[in-house]
């Protein structure tokens, strides 16, 4: 699974967690904070994505990415490791 596919999963999880964003265009360049996603929603989105891609990593290892693309790259790197 490549980083773009992981980004698609993240975006789908964002839309299901925050239904208010259903119709809004979301790209790799967007950050969840700028989209108005709160910290618990962000954790929910990341956990759901981890389950969808079959990856178990502690959440503390997933701090740092500044946007959805960077998060997808990080998850891709972790799943390839």
């Amino acid at each position: 699974m490549d980083s773009d596919r992981i980004a698609e999963i993240i975006i789908a999880e964002i839309r299901s967690t925050v239904p208010e964003l259903e119709a809004q265009p979301i790209t790799r360049a967007d950050s969840m904070t700028d989209l108005g996603v709160d910290s618990i929603e962000r954790s929910e989105i990341i956990l759901a994505t981890l389950e969808a891609i079959g990856l178990k990593v502690p959440m503390v290892q997933l701090h740092g990415p500044r946007n959805i693309g960077e998060l997808a790259d990080l998850l891709h790197a972790k799943s390839a490791a």
């Binding site: 967690t17 239904p19 208010e20 618990i40 929603e41 954790s43 929910e44 956990l47 759901a48 389950e51």
Partner: protein, 406 residues
């Protein structure tokens, strides 16, 4: 302890919101009660049946609560939370609480272990994948999440907490709301009997105790009574001083009594029940002779009904009309005391008492049961009884909005 002096200026109930198997809102509640509509059926919500071929659990489930919350919040709220927001919205609007400053509004949520069914389902769904349990579970499993949810959606900034007294929780919430307003801590307090969202595990526990009825008929106070039937319910009453009331005043809270009797388990205790009623009457400055209507706790369990009848006899209430709201909407457990108090106030306002369904052979013919169809009755002073496992006994005395001269 009863108040030493009757309150010179009783508090009033000025807003009501209700949800039950009869539907959402007071119109559906009123119509269903007076019609005596039968709504019992096998429970169908996920997590409510054993699914192992054992007899089904019967009871009452409500229609899905109206969508009031923003969608991102709605998806995080369980059934108890969504029902709470629905009844709070109805009561809030009617009481016109937007007129009162948020810091002078309090919320008491009656009930404990409210969201057991959702925990039961989560445990089942996540047993094999606990690492992926949604983080929100860490705060939504707490009963106080209902307080947080309500105060996040409505400007309640005085206080918001829960109170637990088993099946008397909803009535205990009214007592706590009255005390909060009377003490001056807030100007308005909402007593909210929360929906006790029971799981098959809880229902099996009630069945094992011998408390739960079998089949689709609940017969409180009838010789054919065989236990209570669960009914989803939720209700909110807004309590204020008369000067803070909205345009609709349902009635006055004349007195309350709330005592414990030393029972640990489910066994009822007439001594405690009598004491709670006497405390409430003393606080109201009334005697049993002044009570013209009793809304019983009346669950339909043989030992509970017998103890309560003994209580009514000892109090000398043979002259009063008596009915049992649980015969229509089932036993709301945590919500029972609140929604049944709402039933008292609505009946008082309408001058009409709802029938006790399936009361064909009363355990004691000497009482003036409301049977068959709704009956006109001018209620001046009503007594509401509410009892809970663990020895909690609550009695509430309500009066008409204005004091009437005899």
């Amino acid at each position: 302890m009863p108040s030493p002096q009757p309150d010179s200026q009783p508090l009033v109930v000025t807003g009501i919101g209700v949800a039950s198997g009869l539907g959402h809102g007071k119109d559906a509640f009123r119509a269903g009660l007076f019609e005596g509509r039968g709504v019992f059926a096998p429970l169908a919500r996920p997590g409510r049946q054993r699914d192992d071929g054992s007899p089904e659990f019967f009871g009452v489930e409500m229609p899905d609560p109206p969508a009031i919350l923003p969608r991102r919040v709605e998806r995080t709220a369980g059934l108890s939370g969504r029902a709470a927001v629905a009844v709070l919205d109805e009561a809030w609007r009617e009481a016109g609480l937007d007129r009162i400053v948020p810091e002078r509004i309090g919320l008491v949520v009656g009930g404990s272990n409210l969201m057991a069914r959702e925990q039961f389902l989560s445990l089942r769904d996540y047993a094999e994948r606990l690492d992926f349990l949604p983080p929100r579970h860490g705060h939504v499993f707490l009963d106080t999440d209902i307080c947080g949810l309500c105060a996040s959606q409505f400007p309640i900034r005085g206080f918001a907490h829960t109170i637990g007294a088993a099946s008397a929780s909803g009535a205990a919430a009214i007592v706590a709301a009255v005390e909060a307003v009377r003490s001056g801590r807030v100007d308005a307090c909402i007593a909210l009997g929360a929906l006790q969202d029971v799981s098959a595990l809880d229902l099996q526990g009630f069945r094992a105790l011998g408390a739960l009825g079998a089949g689709p008929v609940c017969r409180p106070m009838d010789t054919g009574h065989g236990g209570f039937l669960y009914g989803e319910a939720c209700a909110a009453l807004v309590v204020t001083r008369p000067e803070h009331a909205g345009s609709t005043v349902y009635g006055r809270v004349l007195g309350t009594g709330f005592c414990t009797d030393g029972s640990r388990g489910p066994e009822p205790n007439s001594d405690g029940q009598v004491r709670a009623a006497q405390d409430a009457l003393a606080a109201a400055g009334l005697t049993t002779a002044d009570i013209d209507y009793v809304n019983g706790h009346a669950t339909g369990t043989p030992s509970g009904d017998d103890a309560e009848l003994e209580t009514l006899r000892r109090l000398g209430l043979g002259h009063a009309r008596v009915n049992a709201t649980k015969s229509i909407i089932g036993h709301g457990l945590s919500a029972a005391g609140t929604i049944e108090a709402a039933a008292v106030l609505i009946q008082m306002r309408e001058g009409l008492l709802h029938p006790t369904l399936h009361l064909e052979a009363p355990l004691d013919e000497a009482f003036r049961w409301v049977r068959g169809a709704a009956q006109e009755h001018r209620v001046r002073h009503a007594l509401k009884l509410s009892f809970g496992f663990g020895g909690s006994n609550v009695a509430l005395v309500f009066g008409t909005p204005e004091e009437e001269t005899a």
